[in-house]
């Protein structure tokens, strides 16, 4: 998992729940959780990255750097819920962290999380004499968790917008059996879905930037 300089991603979210030593414990936990799920709906707060990651520095030493703005995740318009609610995702922090680690020989992505009204001022970067004044904006179009008959499905859809080019969408989806129904299990699935979306988006993003 990529890490930024100001804080590490949530470790617990990467732990796999299929440890042999704890097999019996997991089975009983599953029994309790599954039966407990009959009576109550239990929203969870997913915190995928520390809040201070929103204010990371933006300095890069690279042949050429392109600013990419990641819009803060808006749970009202983008989020969705089925049994587990994505209340505070932190996904936008994660997108920025991942994008900053994305580079080719002569292009580094300098990702920032910015409020929408500040995009135009933030989206101009020049570190080596080459200026890219076109706005490149990435936002989380959809992020949700849902269940399909004992199976969890985590979905993240990223929207890539750049001036002069129609908006493109990139979908990451992870589907798997529900193990314990724990928050960390759902976080893990959501992070994996985000990685898949980023992988889908990467070639298009690079092509867009390199031809600009």
């Amino acid at each position: 998992m990529a890490a930024c300089g100001c804080g590490s991603p949530t470790e617990v979210s990467m732990r796999k729940p299929n440890n042999k030593k704890h097999a019996g414990v997991f089975a009983w936990i599953a029994l309790v959780l599954v039966c407990g799920g009959c009576a109550s709906y239990d929203p969870i707060k997913l915190s995928l990255a520390p809040p201070e990651a929103k204010h990371v520095g933006t300095a890069f030493v690279a042949a050429r750097s392109v600013a990419v703005t990641v819009l803060p995740y808006n749970e009202t318009s983008a989020g969705s819920v089925y049994r587990k609610r994505v209340v505070t995702s932190g996904l936008d922090d994660r997108v920025a962290v991942e994008l900053r680690n994305m580079s080719t020989a002569d292009v580094r992505i300098n990702a920032q999380i910015t409020e929408q009204e500040n995009i135009s001022s933030e989206a101009q970067t020049d570190t080596a004499g080459q200026r890219d004044t076109r706005q490149t904006v990435i936002s989380i179009a959809k992020a949700y968790l849902h269940e399909v008959y004992q199976t969890k499905s985590a979905v993240v859809v990223l929207k890539l917008e750049r001036e002069g080019i129609p908006a493109r969408y990139f979908r990451g989806q992870v589907t798997g059996l529900i193990w314990t129904g724990s928050d960390s299990e759902y976080q893990n699935a959501l992070i994996k879905a985000l990685h898949k979306a980023l992988q889908e988006m990467r070639p298009e993003l690079m092509k867009t930037i390199e031809t600009s």
Binding site: K20, A27, S80, A141, K142, Y144, T175, W179
Partner: protein, 308 residues
């Protein structure tokens, strides 16, 4: 390397739970008390959407029945999980075609049109509440200042073979004023009891148009057919289904209560119940036939519309 023990035990427990829950069928419908007539002019409408992308469903496996017991449950769970994964993988094209489609707005518009001046329940306005599931009903009701609140919990999904678009809906009208609360029946949603004046479940099923339906009955082919031309067919189906759900509700709120909905006289028809994203076959009584569509009433009082 993964351990197989927890997986097997968990799926077995899950299967047992689902099998247990599927046996819990009783009368669900609550009809308006006659005394509420003329007192529902100040009713707020809320369309509550759990998930704003189209969902999938499966036919639950029955293969484990022959084996029975824990092994049978494990077999069923493994098959169900596999079916779910395949369906979720195949639906991506349809979801991409609907990426900028506001299904919740479609449903709220349909209800606002149909119930703007309805004699039974007149909705002042209809707003959308995203990320909201049925157990959150008490919160929705407490936030309203109207005399009553009509909440439409809606999902939209594809049938297991992707041949049909399905909209399952649950409508609950809750009392807020003291006068209406006295006429309501308490029902539990989540951890809270809510004063219910009326509630029922509805379902509208629309198949792919015959002209575009693939002769090759593969899920991927149907997905491609729904998604073609920017998803025009799935949008049309969802729009029509939203209007039909509003029409079903408009009719049903005027219907009196019955002790038992399974003894309604008339022809028996086959339908499907979409519960927890699984499709369960069921019998229902024919209510009416019109323009190639049939309305059927299930034993729990819920109302379905489907092709004749």
């Amino acid at each position: 390397m993964k351990s197989s023990l927890p997986r097997n035990v968990i799926v077995a427990v899950s299967s047992a739970f689902v099998v247990f829950m599927s046996g819990c069928a009783s009368t669900y419908r609550v009809a308006f008390a006659p005394e509420t007539q003329g007192k529902l002019a100040n009713t707020a409408g809320i369309v509550a959407v759990e998930k704003d992308e189209i969902g999938t469903s499966i036919d639950p496996s029955g293969a484990g029945v022959a084996v029975g017991g824990l092994i049978g449950a494990i077999v069923d769970s493994a098959v169900n999980s596999s079916s779910s994964k395949k369906a979720e993988a195949a639906v991506a094209d349809v979801r991409n075609a609907l990426i900028e489609y506001a299904f919740d707005r479609e449903m709220s518009d349909a209800f606002a049109r149909r119930f703007s001046d309805a004699p039974s329940v007149s909705l002042l306005s209809v707003v959308v509440s995203k990320n909201t599931a049925a157990p959150e009903l008490s919160r929705l009701v407490s936030e309203s200042t109207a005399d009553a609140v009509a909440v439409v919990f809606v999902r939209h999904l594809l049938s297991p073979d992707f041949a049909e678009a399905v909209i399952p809906v649950e409508i609950v009208v809750c009392a807020k004023s003291a006068e209406l609360t006295a006429l309501a029946k308490p029902r539990k949603y989540g951890d809270q009891e809510v004063p219910v004046l009326y509630r029922n479940k509805f379902q509208s099923i629309w198949p792919l148009p015959p002209g575009v339906k693939s002769t090759e009955q593969a899920r991927e082919k149907y997905a491609a057919a729904w998604a073609m031309d920017g998803g025009v067919h799935v949008r049309n189906a969802l729009q029509t289904a939203c209007n039909e759900i509003a029409e079903l509700a408009y009719w049903d709120v005027t219907q009196p209560a019955r002790e038992n909905y399974s003894d309604i006289p008339g022809e028996t028809r086959r339908t499907h119940i979409y519960n927890m994203n699984s499709r369960i076959p069921s019998n229902a009584k024919l209510i009416k036939t019109e323009n190639g569509r049939v309305w059927v009433r299930l034993a729990d009082g819920s109302l379905h519309a489907q092709a004749e």
